[in-house]
């Protein structure tokens, strides 16, 4: 199958307020396969949000290209098709809800692409059920919790018919309960509806749940791999300003001081098993 998202030599250069040329992305090569759950991590300013906006044609490459479902984002005719296929959820839950009633907001996307009323109602209902927000359909968004608002935003992309959802630090402004809600919702959608998920986050515990983790640094992909592979590289992560999960750090330090601990320990359970089997 063709990749959902494919970038070739994706470079993004912009002029900042002081008239300097800033290279936000420098030659990104990556592929995201259908049904994958990919986490993108990186320090502030590593270019992860800029990258996300290229997946939805909100930004266009200065050089190279981005293909979404094989459609080049540089071609204007593809724009609406791409935005339908790749939904986006942003960081601030308040600033992406358009309508004053939950179901009206979920309907906003499909209304824009001209879905007829009957089908629209069905889509909105299905989308709200998928994120477990159906009972709130007639609520006012400002009375919902942060996690609930983000789930409404996710429903908005589902109603649009997206089979790939890009989330740009969706949990950064949420409390721990809301964070769990969003991650669980996305895992469920990934498993049950085979939605491709690109999950940008700075919470390592969230990235650990992904199929693949991409580490960004200064506009480039530093390294990538399964969570096990990525989070075992404790010292490399640290030089990039990222902190590995506690268990991985613990195992790393133990190994450094001569203890015989197997590689690839990233969760507390794995660490406990390794220690107790000695």
């Amino acid at each position: 199958m063709d990749p959902v998202i494919e970038t070739k030599g994706l470079t993004h250069v912009y002029i900042d307020a002081d008239n300097n040329q800033v290279t936000a992305l420098g030659g990104i090569e990556m592929q995201i396969e259908p049904g994958e759950f990919v986490a993108i991590i990186g320090a502030n300013g590593s270019g992860k949000s800029t990258l996300a906006r290229h997946f939805n044609a909100l930004l266009l490459p200065t050089e190279g290209n981005v293909r979404v479902h094989g459609l080049d984002t540089l071609e204007e005719d593809n724009l609406w098709k791409i935005r339908q296929n790749t939904g986006m959820v942003f960081q601030n839950p308040d600033n992406q809800i358009v309508a004053a009633v939950v179901e009206e907001d979920v309907a906003f996307g499909p209304e824009n692409i001209g879905v007829p009323a009957e089908e629209l109602k069905q889509r909105v209902e299905d989308a709200l059920r998928a994120v477990d927000m159906l009972e709130y359909r007639e609520h006012a968004p400002h009375l919902l919790s942060g996690g609930q608002k983000q789930r409404v935003a996710i429903a908005g992309t589902l109603a649009l018919g997206s089979d790939c959802i890009v989330l740009d630090e969706p949990t950064a402004m949420l409390d721990p309960k809301g964070r769990k809600e969003i991650l669980n919702t996305m895992r469920k959608l990934n498993k049950e509806q085979h939605i491709t998920v690109v999950y940008i986050t700075h919470f390592m515990t969230e990235a650990m749940q992904a199929d693949r983790v991409i580490v960004m640094s200064e506009g480039k992909i530093a390294f990538q791999g399964t969570p096990k592979e990525v989070f075992s590289r404790v010292d490399e992560l640290e030089t990039l300003g990222l902190e590995a999960p506690l268990a991985a750090k613990f195992a790393f330090e133990l190994r450094k001081s001569g203890a015989k601990i197997p590689d690839g320990i990233i969760t507390n359970e794995e660490l406990a098993d390794a220690l107790s089997s000695r």
């Binding site: 939805n56 909100l58 609406w80 935005r83 339908q84 939904g87 986006m88 942003f90 601030n92 308040d94 600033n95 992406q96 809800i97 358009v98 309508a99 004053a100 009633v101 179901e103 009206e104 309907a107 906003f108 996307g109 499909p110 209304e111 824009n112 692409i113 001209g114 879905v115 007829p116 009323a117 629209l120 109602k121 909105v124 006012a140 968004p141 400002h142 009375l143 908005g156 992309t157 649009l160």
Partner: protein
């Protein structure tokens, strides 16, 4: 402050509540015309009976509707007093030096006051029985035919929708900023009006900055969800006239006919 209800919508499920918003806006306009046609005691009597009837059907508490007159009470009393005291006419009811109250003046004053009260009550029944969101839909639908002469119907409705969405959010934000500035020693309560207005600045500046940031975020989020203006857009909730709407229109036209008859006879 946080769970403000916008506008003055009084939730319910009466016949009036369930009418199509377009019907309510148009019949309100028709009834306003009817009020202006009234010029006899019987006419005003009929209008009062009609308003009472509508209130009864809508299930609104009578006092609630009556309260809508309060903001303009001063103007109503002034109108009445001016007409009564300055009115010209032959039948002097009461005179003290150069001030005289004539029957004609008093009658005109009462008429004007009645007119204002009726107008306020009729239009507030519209806003009491229609939520702002539905009202926006109605306005958009009614303005749509005027797009050909350049009325931006969809854009106006979109602006109203976004305003309705963000007013509570910005109220929350204002609350937070006031608390933050108070914690830093800002004083919002003392001084005269000018000083007070100046003291609002530390609230307004952050509020505006944040509002612009929100607008920016929202624009991107809307674009990401395929927003490209009103062209080719469908709506989930489509407005539809039902039997009740026909009845409401018939009722409004009967009222106009009746008032026209009372004013001009059978021509």
């Amino acid at each position: 402050m946080l769970d403000i209800t916008l506008g003055q919508y009084y939730p319910g499920n009466s016949f009036i509540h369930r009418l199509d918003p377009r019907t309510k806006i148009l019949t309100t306009l028709l009834l306003i015309v009817a009020v202006f046609l009234a010029n006899t005691a019987i006419g005003y009597g009929a209008l009062c009976a009609m308003v009472l009837f509508i209130i009864a059907v809508s299930g609104l508490p009578f006092m609630l509707v009556l309260k809508s007159v309060k903001p303009l009470l001063f103007i109503i009393v002034l109108t009445l007093a001016l007409h009564a005291l300055m009115g010209q006419g032959e039948h002097v009811l009461w005179q003290w030096k150069f001030i005289k109250v004539t029957e004609e003046g008093l009658r005109l004053g009462v008429q004007m006051a009645m007119r204002l009260i009726l107008l306020l009550m009729i239009s507030s029944i519209l806003t009491f029985t229609t939520s702002p969101i539905v009202l926006t839909d109605g306005i958009e639908a009614l303005l749509r035919p005027f797009r050909v002469i350049g009325v931006p119907a969809h854009e106006l409705a979109m602006m109203m929708t976004i305003a309705l969405r963000f007013i509570p959010t910005l109220m929350e934000e204002t609350d937070r900023i006031i608390k933050a500035q108070t914690a830093r020693g800002a004083d919002f309560d003392s001084g005269n009006l000018l000083v007070k207005a100046k003291n609002m600045l530390p609230i307004l500046v952050p509020l505006f900055i944040s509002a612009f940031r929100r607008a920016d975020d929202l624009a991107i989020a809307m674009e990401a969800r395929c927003y490209r203006g009103g062209e080719g857009r469908t709506r989930m909730h489509q407005l539809a006239y039902r039997a009740g709407d026909v009845m409401a229109f018939v009722f409004a036209f009967v009222m106009i006919g009746l008032l026209a008859f009372l004013r001009w006879g059978l021509l």
